[in-house]
Amino acid sequence: MQEILEKLEISRYEPEFIPELEKVFMDNLYNIDAATCLLKLYQLNPEKENIEIVHKILSLALPNTAEFWLCFMLVSAEIKTHQSLQVLIQINRLLEHCQFTDLWELMNNLPDTKISPEILNPKIRDYIKSLLLITYQSINKSDIKQFLSINDDELNKLIEENNWGSDQETIIFPKPTTKPQVKIDIGIDISRISTVFSKMD
C-alpha cells in the first residue's frame, strides 16, 4: 500500500497505475487517497472504468460517512445513477441520519449480493458503538440491542469486554475522560510580563 501511495505522489495521473490500485481494493484494503486517485483516473480514462471496483470502494468507505461522500463526489456522472450503487447510497443516508433500526432492517435483507455483510457489518457496528459511547452515559439495554442489532448473548459479551457497569435494564458507560477540566488560565506569559516591566521607565 505504501509503495503505491509513494508512486502516486510522483505522478498521479498515469493510467498505468490503475491495475495496481484496483488490486488494493480487491484485497479489501482501504485508503482515502488511493480511492480518490483511482476514481479520478476512472474519470479521465473512462474505457478502463470498472463499476465493480467503484462499488467496492464505496462499500468500503461506508463506515466513514464523510469519506463516502468525498468518494461519491468523484464518481463519474454516468455511473452515479447506476442501479448497483443505489443501495450503497441508501445505506449511507441511513447511517448519516442515524436511523439505525431502519439500517439494520436493510442490511439484513440486502437485495444486492455484491456487498459482503461479513466485512461490512462489524465495521458499521464499531462505528455505532463509538457513537453511542460518546452520546450516552447510561442507555437501556433494549435500546442498545436495537441500535446494534445484537442479541442478549452478544450484548453480555460486549459488557464483559469493555467493563461497562450494568443493571438489570441499563448499561452504564464509563464517564468520558475527555471532560474538560476547569483551568484558571489568565493567559499571561511570565516572559511577556518581564518585557513589559523592562520597557517601563
Partner: protein, 636 residues
C-alpha cells in the same frame, strides 16, 4: 550575407508599406481628391491585416518556432504582401528613420513610380513635407503601433538584462495602459518580432530575442481576448498550444539561460491557464448536436488533446516538480521556472477544488503557511484565490470552524490592503470573490459555531449587514436560503469526465449537479439545527420535552442527538490526520467548537455542558502594551 540583406530589404519593404498606408491616411486629411485610391488602400490595409492573421494562424500551428524559421516565413509573408499590393503605387515611402541616401543604396529598384515625389523639389522642401505629415493627427492604429513598439523593446531589453524593477513597472503599469487599446489594434506576433528586429538593427545591437518573448506576448494577447470577447474554438486551440509551448520551453530552456519575470506575471499565467481550462469545459458543455456539428467533429478528432484534463493536470504537476523552492528565498534568483512551479502548486489546489477532490486540495494546502506571511502573500489575488478555495474545501468536508478561520483571516487582510496594480476585469473579479467569501462565511457560521473568538469585529459587522436575514432563515430550517447562499458562491465545477468524447452522437453530458449533492449532504445538519437551538437553552432537559418543543417524536429526537454527536467522530478523523505536535490553544478551541454542543444522554434526560469563552484580558493588555512600547522605541 545575401540572405541577410534580403531580409533587411524585405523588412524595410514591409515597414515602408505600413508607412505608405499611414501617409495615405495623412494625405486624406490634405483633401486629396483620390477617393477611389484611398478606399482601395483602406481595403488593402484590411486585407493586409487579414492575411497577416491567417498566416499567423498557420504559423502558430507549427510548433517549432525557431527564429530562422520566423525569418523565412517573414520572407514568404512579405512576398505575398507584395503580390497583393500591386495596386499600391506608392512604393517609395518616406521613412523618417532612414536617410534618403542609405535607402537608395539599399533598394536600387525603388526609384519607380512615386507621384508624391516631385524630382524638382529640393531636399529641404521635401523634408518640410515630411514634417507636415508627421504633425498631422495620428490614427489609432499608429498610436497602438507606437505603444507596442516601445513596449516590446523595453520587454526585450528587460528580459535580456534581467532588469527586474523595469519588468515590474512594465507589467504593472504599461500592460494596464495597453489593455485599454482595442483588441483589433493589437499587433500580431510577427509584427512584434519585427519591431525588435528593426530597433535593434538600427542601434546595431545583437538582435537575439529570447525564445519566450513571443510566447509571453501571445499569452497576454489571448488573455485580453478571453476577457473582452466570447472566444471561439479557434482561440481556445491557439491559446492552449501557446501555453503548452511556453511551459515546455520553461522546462527545457534552449539557451540554458533562464529569465526572471515579475511575480505578478507568473501568477497571472497560472491563474489564466486554469481559468481558460474552466471556461473551455463550460464551452464544450454548451455545444449542441447538430447545431455545432463541425466543432464537435473537430473536438473528437483533431483537437482531442486540446485542454484535455489529463494533460492539464499532468502539466501542473510537472511544473510543480521542476521548481526549486529554496531558491525563492533569494530575490535575485526569481527564475521563471521556480516561480511558475511555486504558483502551479497553488494552481493544483484551485483545480482540485473545482474538480471535487477536496481531500487532495487540503493536502496540498498544508505546504503553505496560511496565516502568516509567506511567499505567495506578495500577490494579493493569489492569496484571495488560495484562501477562498481552501475555505471552500473545509466547508465541503464539514470542517466549518476551520472554514470560518480562513475566511475571516483573508477578509480582514483584504480590508487592510490596497491594490492598485490590477487590470479592470481583475478588480471586478476580486470584489466578486469577496462577496462569495462572505456568503460562504455565513454558511460556515450557521453550521459551525457563532462563538469563534478570532473573528475581527468589522468582519462580523459586514457579515451581519449582508446576510443576517439569510442566517436567521437557515436557523429556522429553511433550505432555500441555504441554497441561495451556496449557489452564488460555489466555484464553478469542472467535470473532467471524458466519456462523452468517445460516443459518436454527442449525448449531452449528465452533469452531476453540485447543488443537489450539497443539498442532500446538508439536509440532516439543517434539520438538527432547531434541536441545537433548543439544547442551548437548557442545562438538563427531558427528551419528551424536547420532542414537544420541536414537534417531533422521541425516536427522531434521539436520532438527531446522535447526529449532532457524529460530528465528533468526523472531527477526530481529521484531527488524527493533521498530526500536529504542537497543541496550540487555537486548535483546541477550534476542535471544541467543531464538536458542537457537549451533552450526554442519561436515561431520559439530556445533560448539557456550556462552552464558556474566557476572555483573556490580561494577555490582551500585555500584548498591546508591548506593541505600543515597540512603536515608541522605533520612533525614537
Amino acid at each position: 550575407m545575401n540572405q541577410e540583406n534580403q531580409n533587411q530589404n524585405q523588412n524595410q519593404n514591409q515597414n515602408q508599406n505600413q508607412n505608405q498606408n499611414q501617409n495615405q491616411n495623412q494625405n486624406q486629411n490634405q483633401k486629396n481628391p483620390r477617393n477611389s485610391r484611398n478606399s482601395r488602400n483602406q481595403r488593402n490595409q484590411r486585407n493586409q491585416n487579414q492575411n497577416q492573421r491567417n498566416q499567423n494562424q498557420n504559423q502558430n500551428q507549427n510548433q517549432n518556432q525557431n527564429q530562422n524559421q520566423n525569418q523565412n516565413q517573414f520572407q514568404n509573408q512579405n512576398q505575398n504582401q507584395n503580390q497583393n499590393q500591386n495596386q499600391n503605387q506608392f512604393q517609395n515611402v518616406r521613412n523618417p528613420r532612414n536617410s534618403r541616401n542609405s535607402r537608395n543604396r539599399r533598394n536600387p529598384n525603388q526609384n519607380q513610380r512615386n507621384p508624391n515625389r516631385s524630382p524638382n523639389k529640393s531636399p529641404n522642401q521635401r523634408n518640410q513635407n515630411q514634417n507636415q505629415n508627421q504633425n498631422k493627427p495620428k490614427t489609432q492604429k499608429e498610436i497602438a503601433q507606437k505603444e507596442f513598439r516601445n513596449f516590446t523593446f523595453e520587454l526585450h531589453n528587460g528580459l535580456r538584462n534581467n532588469d527586474i524593477p523595469k519588468l515590474n513597472d512594465l507589467y504593472n503599469i504599461k500592460v494596464v495602459e495597453l489593455s485599454k487599446i482595442q483588441v483589433s489594434l493589437w499587433p500580431n506576433t510577427q509584427e512584434i518580432l519585427q519591431f525588435i528586429h528593426n530597433i535593434s538593427q538600427n542601434k546595431k545591437q545583437p538582435q537575439e530575442t529570447h525564445e519566450l518573448l513571443p510566447l509571453l506576448y501571445q499569452e497576454l494577447y489571448y488573455r485580453y481576448i478571453f476577457s473582452k470577447e466570447k472566444p471561439s474554438l479557434e482561440y481556445y486551440v491557439k491559446s492552449y498550444l501557446n501555453y503548452e509551448e511556453l511551459f515546455e520551453k520553461v522546462k527545457q530552456p534552449q539557451n540554458k539561460r533562464s529569465i526572471n519575470l515579475p511575480i505578478n506575471w507568473c501568477w497571472d499565467i497560472i491563474d489564466e491557464f486554469i481559468y481558460q481550462f474552466q471556461s473551455f469545459s463550460i464551452f464544450t458543455n454548451q455545444l449542441k448536436y447538430p447545431r455545432d456539428k463541425n466543432e464537435i467533429n473537430e473536438l473528437t478528432t483533431k483537437y482531442k488533446d486540446i485542454w484535455n484534463p489529463r494533460n492539464v493536470l499532468k502539466r501542473l504537476q510537472n511544473l510543480s516538480q521542476i521548481s526549486k523552492f529554496d531558491e525563492l528565498q533569494n530575490p535575485e534568483k526569481f527564475k521563471i521556472e521556480n516561480l511558475l512551479g511555486y504558483f502551479s502548486m497553488i494552481g493544483q489546489i484551485l483545480i482540485n477544488t473545482q474538480i471535487g477532490d477536496y481531500n487532495l486540495a487540503l493536502q496540498y494546502a498544508k505546504n503553505f503557511n496560511l496565516f502568516e506571511r509567506d511567499f505567495y502573500t506578495r500577490v494579493l489575488r493569489c492569496s484571495m484565490s488560495l484562501h477562498y478555495n481552501v475555505g471552500f474545501c473545509y466547508l465541503m468536508t464539514n470542517q466549518f470552524v476551520n472554514g470560518i478561520k480562513h475566511f475571516a483571516s483573508i477578509l480582514s487582510y483584504f480590508s487592510r490592503v490596497k491594490q492598485n496594480d490590477l487590470l479592470e476585469f481583475q478588480q471586478e473579479a476580486i470584489m466578486k470573490k469577496v462577496d462569495q467569501m462572505y456568503s460562504l462565511l455565513a454558511i460556515c457560521w450557521v453550521f459551525g459555531s457563532d462563538k469563534f473568538s478570532k473573528i475581527p469585529d468589522i468582519i462580523l459587522e459586514n457579515l451581519e449587514s449582508k446576510h443576517s436575514s439569510q442566517i436567521t432563515r437557515i436557523k429556522n430550517g429553511e433550505e432555500e436560503a441555504l441554497i441561495e447562499l451556496f449557489s452564488l458562491s460555489t466555484p464553478k465545477t469542472i467535470n473532467i469526465s471524458q466519456a462523452q468524447f468517445l460516443k459518436e452522437n454527442m449525448i449531452k453530458r449528465k452533469l452531476s449537479n453540485q447543488i443537489e449533492l450539497f443539498k442532500n449532504k446538508m439536509r440532516p445538519h439543517l434539520e438538527a439545527l432547531k434541536l441545537k437551538r433548543n439544547l442551548e437553552m437548557y442545562q438538563n432537559v427531558e427528551i419528551s420535552k424536547l420532542a414537544k418543543n420541536t414537534n417531533k417524536n422521541e425516536k427522531k429526537i434521539i436520532e438527531e442527538l446522535l447526529l449532532l454527536k457524529s460530528r465528533i467522530l468526523e472531527i477526530n478523523l481529521y484531527k488524527n490526520k493533521n498530526e500536529k505536535n504542537e497543541k496550540n490553544e487555537e486548535e483546541e478551541e477550534i476542535n471544541k467548537l467543531d464538536q458542537g454542543i457537549q451533552f450526554l444522554i442519561e436515561k431520559q434526560t439530556v445533560k448539557i455542558e456550556e462552552i464558556k469563552n474566557q476572555k483573556k484580558i490580561g494577555a490582551y493588555f500585555i500584548y498591546q502594551i508591548s506593541n505600543l512600547s515597540d512603536l515608541k522605541l522605533n520612533q525614537i
